[in-house]
């Protein structure tokens, strides 16, 4: 936005040419290696893509209604029911597929919320400094020192066992890491020449923070979010496993594993939903790992050196 200070009041959107320029520069910085050099990232993308397709088309792909109790109970996997049936005679395969519709959108949603809250608070703390910084960061420290799953457990239990409350609990646990990261990035950017220049051209603090600094620190924050997705899935399904998230009869993977512990004799009840969690988290971590390697200047430097 360093261009023309007169324009600012009139046009709410940033100048189009400039935005393109920033994007192009970022694209140049993020040099994506050829696919065969990143087999894990490609695998991860493929798995996440497959799960997305499943989540969207689950009712069409699934052989049966995930909630219908139509079949013999606890039938072993067969050609009729590839993953067997559970204790209420529901088709496990259909339930695993339907579970993608719960876990994928919710985990993305909660990471986005945690990122927004953490980034806003961290950004204010870093930009305003002074008592606001101290207060916000001490608050983040507190949530950091608080044992994550215990906090989530307490929040989820206190709010009442519901999927929505489990999401709130996981957000409560995850925002501080974004706040810390964004604060340190904003602190570093505050004295950068482009920020000083913008201030001297008369830009307001808000404008500097949201228009100048935000795009420049977005990369590391997004990497953290990508790495956090897997943890979000684990924590959310863990809460459901404990009975503090999704309630019956919702087809949620963690809750289905819990049903498996009630029927551990019939391994298929719990094994398949757990495999679903594992593949999703693994895929998210493959992607996050590759993203970090691509964006982290320290790793990039050592790669170039060797």
């Amino acid at each position: 936005m360093s261009g023309d200070p007169v324009v600012t009041a009139a046009s709410s959107a940033p100048p189009a040419g400039l935005a393109d320029d920033v994007l192009a520069r970022r694209r140049r910085r993020l040099r994506v290696p050829p696919a065969w050099r990143q087999p894990l990232a490609v695998t991860g993308l493929a798995i996440v893509g497959a799960w997305l397709v499943i989540a969207i088309f689950a009712p069409l792909i699934g052989p049966d209604n995930p909630l219908a109790q139509n079949f013999g109970i606890l039938a072993a996997p067969s050609s009729a029911h590839w993953f067997g049936t559970d204790e209420l005679g529901r088709d496990v395969l259909s339930r695993v597929l339907a579970g993608a519709r719960v876990t994928l959108p919710l985990s993305v949603l909660l990471v986005v919320i945690a990122m927004l809250i953490g980034a806003l608070l961290g950004g204010f703390a870093g930009f305003l400094g002074g008592w606001a910084d101290v207060a916000l960061m001490r608050l983040a420290d507190l949530f950091f020192a608080f044992p994550g799953i215990i906090l989530a457990l307490a929040v989820a239990a206190a709010l009442g066992p519901q999927l929505r409350n489990a999401v709130i609990a996981v957000v409560a646990v995850s925002w501080p890491s974004y706040a810390r990261l964004v604060r340190s990035l904003v602190l570093a950017a505050r004295t950068a020449p482009y920020v000083v220049a913008s201030r001297m051209l008369g830009a307001s603090g808000w404008r500097v923070l949201f228009t100048d600094i935000r795009p420049n620190i977005a990369g590391p924050v997004l990497v953290l979010a990508a790495l956090d997705l897997g943890n979000a899935v684990l924590l959310l399904s863990g809460l459901s496993f404990l009975g503090l998230g999704a309630q019956p009869p919702t087809a949620e993977w963690g809750a289905m594993v819990a049903e498996g512990t009630q029927n551990f004799n019939d391994w298929w009840v719990g094994v398949f939903p757990g495999l679903a969690i594992l593949t999703v988290v693994l895929a998210f971590n493959f992607i996050g790992d590759a993203l970090r390697d691509a964006l982290d200047p320290r790793t990039a430097r050592t790669v170039r050196l060797s």
């Binding site: 894990l40 001490r138 420290d141 507190l142 949530f143 020192a145 608080f146 044992p147 994550g148 799953i149 215990i150 906090l151 457990l153 307490a154 929040v155 989820a156 239990a157 206190a158 709010l159 009442g160 897997g230 684990l234 399904s237 863990g238 496993f241 404990l242 009975g243 503090l244 963690g254 594993v257 819990a258 498996g260 512990t261 551990f264 004799n265 391994w267 719990g270 094994v271 939903p273 757990g274 969690i277 594992l278 988290v281 693994l282 998210f284 971590n285 493959f286 790992d289 320290r298 050592t302 050196l305 060797s306």
Partner: protein, 359 residues
């Protein structure tokens, strides 16, 4: 450094005295911030557990008692729930100063004695897990760093990513099913076989107590019971420590002194173990310390499956029953462990790396 205030110490032992004083000041400051953090945590726990709609009365009294206003009032009075929140909090803090964590609404015992009973079981589990993951994780990390970007590195990368991606409540179920139920190789639950009495209480860790009393049969049995939940718990930390060991070793390998060590003809294993691993140990130990504290709370997801009578089950049952004093007690204990471990790690830095002075 304020030389004036060190005067009395300096008179006795000029050099060591100053260092000693530095250490003491450092310790005091860290203990101070730790204390503030702990009080803050009681506040967060208090606010989280009290300002929300959940009703501990409904969670703890039966339906019959709930219909009796006198019983409800008695319950609320007994646990101080009829007082305004600031008064409740002040009461809690006052009790804390006297080492009183309140009475569990669920077990009707002092939270402190509940913790006394459950903590050793979980500490034993977490210690087993952290020692296992240190051995396996550091070894895998060294291997991965030495074979960087070749096939052992790639395989280890997949293993470690698999470790941090594993839903432990699920792998616990799978391990239980396979190793106990199907194969019968390992006992499936509890700390000892049913009807076997534990060794006389010294530490509360059955393995250690059995060892101290020379009860070898009991030691073997306690170990066998420990293996399954301990290994399951270790899966995540193995992955984490492997990745950290690899990353910090690679960072150090870029240093000139490592190249110098190679150039002067030292065998590769000496370079790796003495010149690279030792400085890398700092970040490894930091991570392992925090992982240990994380394991204490991570047991929530594992103890249920293996019927392990520890802190995790206690935390879970207190949360589900909205047993507020118990939740606060568990949170405080784990936060205390975090703070103490952080302090110990900071002190260890000086031992491992003489370059780091307390500052």
């Amino acid at each position: 450094m304020t030389s004036a205030s060190t005067a009395t110490v300096v008179v006795d032992r000029p050099r060591k005295g100053t260092a000693h004083h530095d250490l003491r000041r450092f310790l005091l400051r860290r203990l101070g911030t730790g204390l503030v953090l702990l009080i803050g945590i009681t506040l967060v726990a208090f606010v989280v557990t009290h300002l929300v709609p959940g009703d501990p009365v409904a969670a703890n009294l039966g339906q019959g008692a709930l219909n009796d206003p006198a019983a409800v009032a008695a319950f609320r009075h007994q646990y101080g729930l009829d007082q305004p929140l600031p008064v409740q909090y002040a009461r809690y803090l006052t009790g804390l100063l006297h080492g009183d964590l309140g009475i569990s609404e669920q077990s009707h015992r002092a939270v402190l004695s509940d913790l006394n009973q459950y903590v050793p079981a979980t500490v034993e589990l977490a210690l087993f897990a952290i020692v296992t993951s240190l051995i396996v994780g550091v070894a895998l990390g060294i291997l991965a760093a030495s074979f960087r970007d070749r096939w052992p590195d790639h395989i280890i990368r997949v293993i470690s990513l698999g470790g941090v991606s594993m839903p432990i409540f699920w792998i616990a179920l799978v391990a239980f099913y396979l190793l106990f139920f199907r194969l019968g190789w390992l006992p499936g639950g509890g700390r000892l076989d049913p009807a076997v009495s534990p060794p006389p209480h010294i530490t509360g860790l059955y393995t250690v107590d059995a060892l101290l009393h020379g009860q070898w049969g009991l030691l073997w049995q306690a170990l066998r019971h420990l293996v399954l939940p301990g290994l399951v718990l270790a899966i995540y930390t193995v992955g984490m420590l492997t990745r950290f060991t690899r990353a910090s070793m690679l960072e150090i390998m870029g240093n000139d002194y490592v190249r110098a060590a190679r150039l002067k003809g030292l065998p590769e294993h000496v370079v790796i173990l003495r010149h690279v691993l030792r400085p890398a140990l700092i970040s490894i130990i930091t991570v392992a310390g925090l992982a240990f504290a994380g394991l204490l709370s991570g047991t929530v997801l594992v103890e249920n499956i293996f019927a392990w009578p520890g802190l995790g089950q206690y935390a879970y049952h207190s949360a589900v029953n909205l047993d507020l004093p118990a939740i606060m007690g568990v949170s405080l204990f784990i936060a205390l462990v975090y703070i103490v471990i952080n302090l110990v790690i900071d002190l260890l830095y000086g031992v491992i790396d003489p370059r780091i002075r307390l500052s």
